[in-house]
Assembly symmetry: C2
Homo-oligomer: 500 residues x 2
């Protein structure tokens, strides 16, 4: 045997052995994959039968523990407190001008930064805006106010009919609507696919000539949020009362929605000082998001606020809905290769610059309301005031649209600034006319604006007795809330959970 032939043989043996080792390792890998798969099947084996309108998030949690456990993290408010203020920081204390802007409207009494979905029921019970109804037919707010707060809403709509759900007072459903925003609001219990449970969105799509059933899964990852995170109003027509409606018929822009409201001569309230027929913007989040670059690129709400997460080898959607700034690695950095600190400071810079612009509009509006109030006092006529009040309405609508939308400064900074500038145009117009009118009424010098440097001073100026409101609320919480909880608990024993 030649030397070369001997080497050749050894080479073959070596190769053969190496192949055996590699094949063995591949086998191990395959086994591991199969094991992971069966682990997944094991974890996701449904434990209970979910009924069509099961409102209890903890029952859904039995079948979907990873999603549920991440959802209950929305109880964590530490991020918000880290970034200044308490978890439910008091917007009126931070910015007392808002008390004047909303004079005559419930928001001037109490406006706190909302907490996570987990607190939806607690927060609506606690706010002074819902008053202190001691019986089911009392209180300032309609039953419609529950619409976005709970998966009990689709259940009650199915039971009462949509029209009837909206009728009556908020207190009427206090013992029924008890589970905070959760699973059934967005998911089909059979297939777990995303679904729209709120008629207002479906109907708004219909009026725009669109069928929401044709939405893609990626679109649905925003549309389920758009059931609530939108501009809306309570409409009364054809025997319907306080019917939750999205004013989208002309489009999403601040001008299109204003045109819609103007045509209806709709106003949320008449301003206490200026007597202007005001519009209150709710939170046009979906509208403004759609006008920004992330919306334009097809990035969904869930992509940033509920990014994918992995635990025990399983990928799932993180239901700890929160600011992406608290979770930059899984949200922003999926696309943007920048340090988290840099990305956060970019967002904060946008917010700061837009807040600076919005504060200017705010101050002009405060002055306009006060000047208009003074004009009335000095004997201004309806005819003198008409155009001025329209200007104030339109200016504040723009201010509120930019202020009320969560994350507007990030979602669509250029559009938000445009809205503020247009608001300033209307505010100047109002103020120039007011100063001229006041001069005609004998007031040539600058008027003395009241001291509204704190929430207390501002509320005192417009005659809000916070002590009385707080006492009434305390009584309501002491007497009524325990009744609601008791009634709801007693009824819950009727609910069956069918284990599989």
């Amino acid at each position: 045997m030649k030397k070369s032939e001997s080497i050749g043989k050894w080479k073959i043996i070596l190769m053969f052995s190496a192949t055996i080792v590699v094949t063995f390792l591949l086998g191990l890998l395959a086994a591991s994959i199969v094991e992971r798969r069966s682990e997944k099947n094991f974890v996701y084996k449904p434990k209970v039968q979910l009924t069509e309108n099961e409102p209890r998030n903890e029952v859904w949690g039995l079948n979907y523990p990873l999603e549920y456990q991440s959802y209950i993290q929305t109880a964590d408010t530490s991020f918000r407190s880290k970034h200044g203020g308490s978890a439910t920081h008091d917007m009126l204390s931070e910015n007392p001008s808002m008390v004047i802007l909303w004079a005559g409207y419930a928001f001037s009494k109490d406006y706190k930064q909302g907490r996570g979905h987990y607190y939806a029921i607690d927060d609506i019970r606690n706010t002074l805006r819902t008053g202190a109804p001691m019986g089911p037919e009392e209180g300032p707010q309609p039953s419609t106010c529950w619409s976005c707060k709970s998966p009990d809403v689709p259940r009650m709509m199915a039971k009462e009919g949509v029209d009837n759900f909206y009728k009556g007072k908020w207190a009427r459903l206090g013992a029924e609507v008890v589970n905070p925003i959760g699973c059934a609001d967005c998911h089909d219990p059979e297939s777990m696919s995303l679904r729209i449970t709120r008629p207002a969105l479906i109907e708004a799509y219909q009026r725009m000539g669109k069928d929401i059933k044709l939405a893609t899964h990626q679109e649905m990852r925003s549309l389920v949020c758009a059931q609530c995170h939108v501009e809306y109003y309570f409409s009364s027509f054809n025997g319907k009362e306080k019917y939750l409606t999205f004013p989208w018929d002309n489009g999403f822009s601040v001008e299109a929605i204003e045109e819609y409201y103007d045509k209806l001569e709709f106003s949320d309230w008449t301003h206490q000082l200026s007597k202007a027929p005001m519009l209150k913007a709710q939170h046009p989040d979906f509208e403004l998001y759609s006008m920004g670059v992330h919306g334009d690129r097809g990035v969904s709400c869930a992509d940033c606020h509920m990014p994918y997460r992995s635990e025990g080898g399983q990928k799932f959607t993180d239901h700890h809905i929160q600011s992406p700034l608290n979770n930059v690695a899984n949200s922003c950095q999926v696309c943007h290769r920048e340090e988290a600190g840099k990305l956060i400071s970019n967002v904060i810079e946008r917010q700061d610059k837009i807040s600076e612009a919005r504060a200017i509009l705010e101050q002009e509006l405060v002055k306009a309301h006060i000047e208009a109030g003074m004009a009335w006092e000095k004997g201004a006529k309806e005819g003198d005031m008409k155009d001025i009040l329209v200007d104030i309405r339109h200016a504040q609508w723009r201010w509120d649209y930019s202020a009320a939308s969560h994350g507007a400064s990030f979602h669509a900074p250029v559009e938000t600034q445009r809205i503020i500038a247009k608001g300033l145009e209307k505010a100047v117009s109002a103020r120039v006319k007011l100063v001229r009118l006041l001069a005609r009424l004998g007031q040539v010098d600058e008027i003395k604006y009241p001291d509204i440097s704190t929430k207390e001073k501002a509320q005192k100026y417009i005659g809000i007795d916070l002590k009385e409101l707080n006492e009434q609320k305390a009584k309501f919480k002491e007497v009524v809330i325990p009744q609601w909880v008791k009634q709801s608990k007693s009824r819950e024993s009727e609910w069956k959970v069918t284990y599989l």
Copy 2:
């Protein structure tokens, strides 16, 4: 011989042959690379010796034909005409309000969109702003106005001294400054590395405690542009006259520069109508670019306006300086994976939204100037007007800062909108005070604003006789320009080109 051994031998022969073929092909490839290299060396072999201050771009072009040939493409203005208007479209016709805003200042006579660098000399000779000086000591503008127009500037500064260069009238250097912005403005003729030739930038850096010599190459790819694309003014101090100065001592923001000018009580002119001490913003391009996200990410001017290009196997910097919108594939799409049409429409949307906001500020300013003029007419005192004129100065400074900066709406949209909103704050303040003052002076009704709907009407309102100005200019172009050209040509024969 066993069969397996025979197969083994064939295998070895086959492998051997394959190796020979592959090696041969690699050899061909290497030869091709070497050839390309020598082609490059051939092309880039310097043909002429460039002197320190060689101002003639075509002489540099002998050594650097690819760069030069791309540079002369700045003569192409088809992109601008494609996007509406002629190549030098008339900004005052497009927006006659500007005539009022600049009343009493040369810009109210003539303001056209600048063309490419290739036209720098033609355009400054043609604009009505430089007047019609028939002799070297005539005309409205100082010699400083040449500073950014030509590589003859560093040459003349070396010859006369920087202080002396700025002294005297613009017409003084008409026969010297003849080559349009080009090679020597930014490049060292020995090493071709980027260099700063304008003292104003070096001095501004020194006053900020920074040494521009420590700038990286990537920073230099913006700083050479920042020699001219900045806010500047002409300062007189310590025997220096009309000394080109960047007002950066307090920072780049609109507020920091305003503070700088206010402290000096500097004004570019006194407004013809309102008598306000006005500031004219030049083009704070570098400042606003620095405040936007591209600047923040270290993207240089050249990265988008002069992206790399390849010809004949050679990569070089495209000296066809232009809007990146005209060259999306080599600018935006290097980083952004989006269709060109989408990227362009994103930019245009930003521009449109910001123009909308800026137009509001513009209208308020027009009214403020006219109202202030009327207040003077009705007998207002200095003391009545002082605060109002400061408001007008500050408001228009913000308008101009946002309007004059090339590409501000793209470079830093959120900052630009913030600036406009702050401008609106000042404008409202001025107008509210003015309306009050006018009322005290007996003018309670809205005043009648003049018809300034066209450039002609607006210029007539402020008393500009465009016909006369055009006739003077025509005479200047007929008589003086040919003299300048002749003198410059006669002197050129003295210039030697040393071929290597």
